[in-house]
């Protein structure tokens, strides 16, 4: 079976006025269909850049990257993925349902199809009843759920999420994490999830990619043996803590928290 994401010796160097910045160096990674992969690491480790490279928002400068066996550009043009940004990025002049309709309008779905998909995805993220509200009338957590619904609306099999819950408080984040797991289970999608929270990464993932900065590289890939059914209190079990410890070790091994001299 063709992997959903396959990166070989992937590198990306930004040219800036202060010289070259190596954002990604020699990244090798395969993501299979149905995986929930978390990317964890400190700021500047390239986790967001890697996600943006998958999405064809950045171009790699070396190595190869294939999405469903295609180039990232072709995959983007085939609408292979939905992208959830750090901020909800809802358009303030559109109601919630119209925001979710945005990709559907662009992709040329009929009004009936739009209505049906809006209803289905709003149910999926538990936002039914808020169709006619404007973004500012919703809480931050609800806005981010709306942006997830928007990414799900056109039924891409791959969901790319860049620290989607980073700006939310702990309580809302826990709630959305468990909802996201249920959603993943129901939709059978492949999810790439960028985070800098160890508990979040361990709780959600089937595979955890630990990254370190300067240059951005992968230091460890951890397969999780936690069961698919994960209540929130799984975070107190020894298995959970063992994986978390290994993630922490991986981050430390990358010297990621040390200051550069």
């Amino acid at each position: 079976m063709i992997p959903v994401v396959s990166a070989q010796n992937l590198g990306l160097t930004f040219s800036t006025n202060d010289g070259d910045v190596v954002a990604l160096s020699d990244v090798n990674l395969t993501i299979e269909k149905g995986d929930f992969v978390s990317f964890i690491g400190p700021s500047g480790c390239g986790k967001t850049t890697f996600l943006r490279t998958i999405a064809d928002l950045e171009q790699p400068t070396s190595g190869t990257l294939r999405i469903n066996g295609q180039t990232p550009e072709d995959a983007r043009k085939n609408r292979a993925y939905g992208y959830v940004f750090q901020a909800p990025a809802l358009y303030p002049w559109r109601t919630i349902e119209k925001n979710i309709a945005l990709p559907l309008e662009i992709m040329g779905h009929s009004p009936q199809q739009q209505a049906e998909r809006i209803k289905r995805t709003m149910d999926l993220v538990n936002l039914s009843g808020f169709e006619k509200k404007y973004p500012w009338q919703l809480s931050g957590g609800m806005q981010q759920r709306a942006s997830i619904a928007r990414a799900l609306a056109f039924d891409a099999d791959l969901l790319l999420m860049d620290e989607p819950f980073g700006a939310l408080d702990e309580i809302v984040r826990d709630h959305l994490n468990s909802e996201l797991l249920k959603l993943w289970d129901r939709t059978q999608k492949t999810i790439c999830f960028v985070t800098h929270s160890i508990p979040e990464a361990v709780y959600l993932s089937t595979k955890i990619v630990v990254m370190s900065p300067r240059p951005g590289r992968v230091t460890d890939i951890i397969e999780s043996n936690l069961p698919k059914e994960r209540p929130l209190d799984i975070r107190e079990t020894p298995e959970f803590l063992a994986i978390a410890a290994r993630v922490r070790d991986g981050l430390r091994a990358g010297h990621s928290y040390e200051e550069v001299v």
Binding site: L57, R79, Y81, G82, Y83, A87, A89, W93, T95, I106
Partner: protein, 288 residues
């Protein structure tokens, strides 16, 4: 009421000051008139009323101006050359045409500047330079120049209005069309949206608040442009011509009447744009 009271207070203060100033400014001439008529020792209150009722006062008082406006609009046939309503209409039509042209030109230039690198770097300096030329210098050249090739009446005046009103629209719309954040544009790219879709679904709605803000400035200076253009062609009529002939003949009441009407017209036009803005905002879910 909380909004009406402060405005009313200021208005009353202005009127009191105005009537007092009129006594003071018109007194020398009134004194001469009274001496000629051998009127001595006129009581102050009577004297004040005399200064408020001169034919060609240095400073006419509000009730004189308003009665002149009333007589020159309602009291005359619309087609009469002395009808202020006719002159106001001449100015209004040039203002509106100029405003529509100016807004259209401004939006078109802003779209070009935002979407084309070469336009971005080449156009802006010229646009700014265009506004440093005094309109009083350029208006007669345009009006007389176009008159020489047979183009008179509405169009030359509208062009001057356009020349003034396109500027705030370009500046505002460039800012507005560039206001979408990077992730809002990235989002469009992930959908593989074409430039047309990016414009109509993101840039244009994001720019609408700026469009209305600049149109409010634009319509007010459109009116100024029309009045200034009229000064160069006294035969064409309009509020500008009433100002001009008023000052030639020392008809201060006529000048003030035209002035008041121009100001009132500008206020109404700005209010109409403001109402349109409110309507569009409400449809776009802007918080009240």
């Amino acid at each position: 009421m909380s909004r009406v009271l402060p405005i009313l207070t200021i208005l009353i203060a202005i009127f009191i000051f105005w009537y007092a100033a009129a006594i003071w400014m018109n007194a020398p001439w009134q004194t001469i008139l009274n001496e000629r008529a051998n009127l001595a020792d006129v009581p102050f209150f009577e004297f004040a009323q005399q200064t408020w009722a001169q034919d060609k006062p240095i400073l006419p008082v509000p009730h004189q101006v308003f009665s002149e406006i009333w007589n020159a609009t309602m009291g005359l046939e619309f087609t009469s050359r002395r009808s202020l309503a006719l002159h106001a209409w001449i100015t209004l039509s040039a203002t509106l045409l100029g405003f529509v042209l100016g807004t259209g030109l401004g939006v078109a230039l802003a779209v070009a500047i935002v979407h084309n690198d070469a336009a971005d770097r080449s156009l802006m300096p010229w646009i700014i330079a265009s506004q440093t030329i005094p309109i009083l210098a350029i208006a007669p050249m345009v009006v007389v120049g176009l008159g020489a090739i047979g183009l008179t009446g509405l169009v030359p005046k509208a062009l001057i209005s356009m020349y003034l009103s396109f500027f705030p629209v370009v500046v505002g719309m460039v800012k507005g069309l560039r206001s979408p954040e990077a992730i809002q544009l990235d989002l469009m790219r992930t959908y593989d949206a074409n430039p047309w879709q990016v414009f109509w679904k993101l840039r244009w709605p994001a720019a609408l608040p700026m469009l209305f803000a600049s149109m409010k400035v634009g319509i007010a200076i459109s009116l100024i442009g029309a009045v200034v253009a009229e000064l160069s062609n006294a035969a064409g009529g309009g509020l500008g011509v009433r100002l001009l002939t008023g000052s030639y003949n020392g008809q201060t009441i006529q000048i003030w009447a035209a002035l008041f009407l121009a100001a009132g017209l500008a206020a109404v036009l700005v209010a109409i744009v403001g109402a349109a803005e409110k309507w569009v905002n409400a449809r776009n879910g802007v918080r009240a």
